[in-house]
Amino acid sequence: MGRRRRRVDEEASARAGAGARTLLDAIATLSRSLPTGPCPEIFRRAKFDRPEAAPALWELLFRLLAPLLADRAAASLGPGAQARWVKAVLCSHGYPRPALAQLPEDGSQGSRELLLAFSWLLARGPLLEWLLAQTCVKLGDQVPTFECEVLASPGLATPQMDAEGPVDLRCLQWLMGKLRFQWQQLICSQEEQCALLSKIHMYTWGCHSDRNLGHLSVTETEMLRDPEGSQQLLQALEQENAQLEAALEWRRYELVFWQWMDTVLGACPSEDPAVPTFQPSISEHGRGKLELVAQELQALKEELQALQELLRKEVLSRRQAWETQIGGLGHGPEWSAARQALQQAVDRELLALRQAWKQGKGPSLPQGPHRLVKIEAGSAEAQGLPVAEVIRALRSQEASLEAVLCRLQGQCRQELARLAGTVPGLIWILPPGR
């Protein structure tokens, strides 16, 4: 009964204001342009903070924030872990509302907060464009791009591990060695993939209907081998097309949505401004240390103030002394000529430094994915991004990463040597090999 009445109310209001219809359209297009977007009704319920809307929104946020993980991890992660993930990632992005962090992780309530978090993400940047690029069906072979950024993005917060006893060093060495082998395996399989890709390109040379491409990609070859797969591909393309269309349409309705969001925000109880933003959780173990650090910081601050005061006085007295000393100098023609020459020298040096910096920075890859296409050397149609350039960019990136690694390893070694030195009677024998 209640529901029907609400709907009647809604219809009445829709008739009353032409805006409501467009609002529904706006939410519907938004929902369609999101991968696995929740049904529009969820948004409406979230405005009234209805608990039944919460699970779908947690799911949505999880998928938005962890697109690379989503397929595999969603199955293995329970709703609780998903919620923790969402909170952690939003926190690391600087999401300002503390109410989100206090939501229960069982997904039982808080749909309005989640809707706000979602719209914050939407308002913050090109979310839809980014998502569409992520889920884009790839027909061509991609040029491998830097994945360091992906790796550096915040991972799933590991559960706080306060080890009960001391951890056996051998166990760490074991895990470290495992990592090393996995790394080698990864490199091996990457090399294999490259070799096979090159074979496919060679065998399918001249097969492509597009003259510019010359050969087939893996997806295209797969389609030839397995025609049923092409049905699936077609479906995926149609789905992507629908998403793109919805995203375009969304642009027209966007304003209506944001006006509606203002009313959602207005529906929120006002917050206590005294509550600070996120309180990072600190383990028992860390608390003691933190207090020590705080004390030290305070002491340093005082010291700094004293030093600044001293410096100020010193500068003042020096300046006065200097000004009296140079007194009449600095006005003659010799002086201005010398000054000009100096100025020019500085300008030259600056220019040289700028150029050196530009070169030293190394080539940077143009953004966006590129289709990997083999072209005969010296071909007239050669355009786009030459592989040599990509390789050069990757190499320079590798070199700089390696330098960082070396530096960090050196620091670790020093720290280790320092620690070893503090234990009396310990003889330090490095493990054999590596």
Binding site: Q173, G177, F181, Q185, C188, P431, P432, G433
Partner: protein, 453 residues
């Protein structure tokens, strides 16, 4: 992913041949006790890893190296039988003169002199692989060419192919060997390999000899018999297995997976293999086995450090949990119970999915710092191996070799203390300092293994 085998010296070449022959025979065997499709996938996986095709003939992915031509020529002609597999005629390197059981000669003379030519041959073989998983280097440790040159080449491979894995299959000499300096050669090989190889898969001549005598009922045991047992054991480890519990795909990189499971720690690199059942072809048709029985025996072989399925000491039990580790109990236990750092169990044949592996997941089998979840893994395939309806192989990183290693180091030290035969080594640039380094490293290895509990 392909594995390139490097056969070194007389021992390495003879074993290498038997290994390829065993792999080929097994993969071509129609009696796989499984579906046709399964059999085909198994064959394809084996072939891709160890062979490449040339005009329809499988060519072993191997490089043959010896300083004397005799053995290599024998192996090439043996492998040339029609309808089977072959070696690449060009993938061999031999000279006119051996190393005379002098490790220093193999390492310091043959090594630097011939490394470039041998590395070129290896490079050519590597280029014929779509992807290289690693190297399997077969050699003895007590002789001159295989062990000295082998240690030198392994170091070179480490420098040139740092991302490829290196597993050295090494043959431990008879306790009563004929070569007077075998203990010197052994410690030099082992210490050098410990620095450059990822894993040492050890076979003891004494143990394999006993298997031939007791299980295979061989009357007059030749090197060929011994090598065939060895090849059977290696085959049962390296033939394809499924990549996951419910998967029908075969593992693509078994060498990498094996190393990741068993030898990530740089101080523990020595692996031993146990297989069950193992018997002569004539008694095979009259025997049946259950997984339960096989695994129970294999487990006891593991914990009592029995080298074969006979004369197992059934009194040895894993220590009870929560007993204080130091004290008499521990000493007592150390003498009998064999602690494992990590184990890999490989099951092949009928109803593998029903085999109960709980006995190997007992935390009491392992160290306190690495539980069974990390220390134990199992690979399976319903495809039977070498006509055994059911068979199991266990690759173990544990205390198997503490005593033999300790004995070799001790004997070598006694000789070294009286400076016996040292001049034969210093003559070719292996100084006393190198010996001392080897002793230090191996004593550290013995101590590390001994302290596993």
């Amino acid at each position: 992913m392909a594995v390139v085998t490097v056969q070194l010296g007389q021992c390495g070449n003879q074993i290498g041949f038997e290994v390829f022959d065993a792999l080929f025979t097994d993969s071509q065997c129609s009696q796989g006790f499984c579906s046709k499709r399964e059999n085909e996938a198994y064959q394809a996986s084996c072939t891709e890893r160890f062979f490449r095709e040339e005009n329809g003939v499988p060519i072993a992915r191997a490089v043959l190296v010896d300083m004397e031509p005799k053995v290599i020529n024998q192996m090439l002609s043996k492998a040339a039988q029609p309808g089977r597999w072959k070696y690449d005629q060009h993938a061999r390197f031999c000279q006119k003169q051996g190393s005379g059981n002098n490790w220093a000669y193999g390492y310091s003379v043959h090594g630097p002199k011939h490394a470039e030519s041998i590395m070129n041959l290896i490079q050519k073989e590597v280029e014929k692989c779509d992807s290289l998983s690693g190297f399997f280097i077969i050699m003895s440790i007590a002789g001159g060419t295989g062990s000295g040159l082998g240690a030198f080449l392994t170091q070179h491979l480490q420098d040139h192919y740092s991302n490829a894995l290196k597993m050295n299959q090494i043959i431990w000499p008879y306790g009563t060997g004929e070569v007077i300096v075998q203990n010197y050669n052994s410690i030099l090989t082992l210490s050098h390999l410990y620095r450059s190889s990822d894993a040492l898969l050890v076979h003891e001549n004494d143990a394999v000899h006993k298997i031939c005598a007791k299980l295979m009922s061989t009357k007059q045991i030749s090197f060929r018999d011994i090598n065939q047992v060895l090849a059977h054991q290696l085959g049962s480890v390296f033939q394809p297995t499924h990549s996951a519990e419910c998967s029908f795909h075969y593992r693509t990189n078994p060498l990498g997976d094996l190393m990741e499971h068993l030898v990530p720690h740089p101080e523990f690199k020595m692996l031993g293999v146990r297989t069950i059942p193992q018997m002569s072809e004539t008694s095979l048709p009259y025997s049946t086995f259950t997984w339960n029985g096989l695994l129970k025996r294999l487990r006891q072989m593991l914990i009592s450090n029995a080298k074969m399925d006979e004369g197992i000491d059934w009194q040895v039990r894993p220590p009870l949990p929560k007993l204080p580790p130091p004290g008499k109990m521990c000493l007592n236990r150390e003498q009998h119970f064999n602690t494992s750092l990590a184990n890999l169990l490989i099951l092949r044949g009928k109803d593998v999915q029903n085999a109960n592996l709980e006995g190997f997941r007992d935390p009491a089998l392992y160290t306190s710092w690495l539980g069974p979840a990390d220390a134990f893994s199992a690979w399976k395939t319903p495809r039977a191996f070498n006509r055994y309806e059911r068979s199991a192989a266990l690759v173990s990183n544990g205390q198997f070799f503490v005593r033999p290693l300790d004995a070799v180091v001790g004997k070598a030290w006694n000789m070294f203390a009286s400076k016996a035969y040292i001049h034969q080594y210093t003559k070719f640039g292996i100084e006393e300092e190198d010996f001392l380094d080897s002793f230090t490293l191996l004593e550290q290895v013995v101590a590390s293994y001994r302290n596993l509990f």
